[in-house]
Symmetry: C2
Amino acid sequence: MPAVSDCIEMLDSETKAVETPEDHAEELRLWLRLLTCTTLIEGEVRGRLRQRFDVTLPRFDLMAQLDKAPDGMTLSDVSKRMMVSNGNVTGLVERLVESGHLDRRTSETDRRVQVIRLTKLGRAEFRRMASEHETWIADLFADLTPKDVRELMRLLAKTKASAQKSAARRRP
Amino acid sequence: MPAVSDCIEMLDSETKAVETPEDHAEELRLWLRLLTCTTLIEGEVRGRLRQRFDVTLPRFDLMAQLDKAPDGMTLSDVSKRMMVSNGNVTGLVERLVESGHLDRRTSETDRRVQVIRLTKLGRAEFRRMASEHETWIADLFADLTPKDVRELMRLLAKTKASAQKSAARRRP
DNA sequence: GGGAAACATTTTAGGCTTAAAACAATTCGG
DNA sequence: CCGAATTGTTTTAAGCCTAAAATGTTTCCC
């Protein structure tokens, strides 16, 4: 179907003579589909977390980061890992400390740094939520074969690398 | 590498005797990678829209929906398409009407319904932004071959269908 | 040592987002 | 025709999120 336009494109890129505005409709569609998938799944997970555990997705995500770091993390670490702004983490942590899920203390070696950890309560609650969360994810992806999953992992790794490279090009 | 656990799993599912908590770590990793890709690209697009055009991503997204609907859309339509809540759209539209990009009027046949359209200004600005936006997306996905793109499209379509089915199972 | 640069965090101002309740208009079934 | 459901939108309350500026601390290096 796109044979004709492919030929034209090839001619352009071979001759390097004509500066045709290139067609990137496919990439655009891919991006929209990627976004749709993520939004769909995210919304589903958000709703289930709220209904089952009365917890928000950002809180859950933050606790997930801390569960992987028994010795705690600094706010900057969390901010980088979650790919959200610093200010965002400040508020999120504030509320989780308030509710007794997090412990926050100033580093003894560097008084700029705040180290946060899950409290006993926080860890217990997170583990309970995480195990159920894992089954939700499995169910959401249930129609994918193991091969599909592997292939998606591979292509998304490639996508991530490509996007990071592009981002670095702009912000060296 | 996972040969042993695979065997155990197979035994379980064959004998149907032991109720082992199944391992869904692969799907979980897939979900996290999907989320990372989307967050990465979304952040990049958000930043470029702000820097180049001083516009927010949600505003751009809303205008993109309307650009595809010359006869306008109702707020509900927009809300479904953008997969955001109704109340969200109300505020977004308010600000875009205020800035002269949107026109909003009550339907003549059903006075519950608000129909919104791009104004001339709104359409012109959107087109200008959209053409640049398309080159950003192309650049972000630049390392993917056409075959990669096709394959990703296929797998994400399958993912979307799977997730929708799962969501429908919960909310019949 | 002392200032400049770098770093970690918080604050600020504004916008986005959601779920749920409230309100308004239409449609449906008897 | 009329009350009950349904549908479309707005409001409300709370939380999330960002970019940029401000604050406090450390490091670098002359």
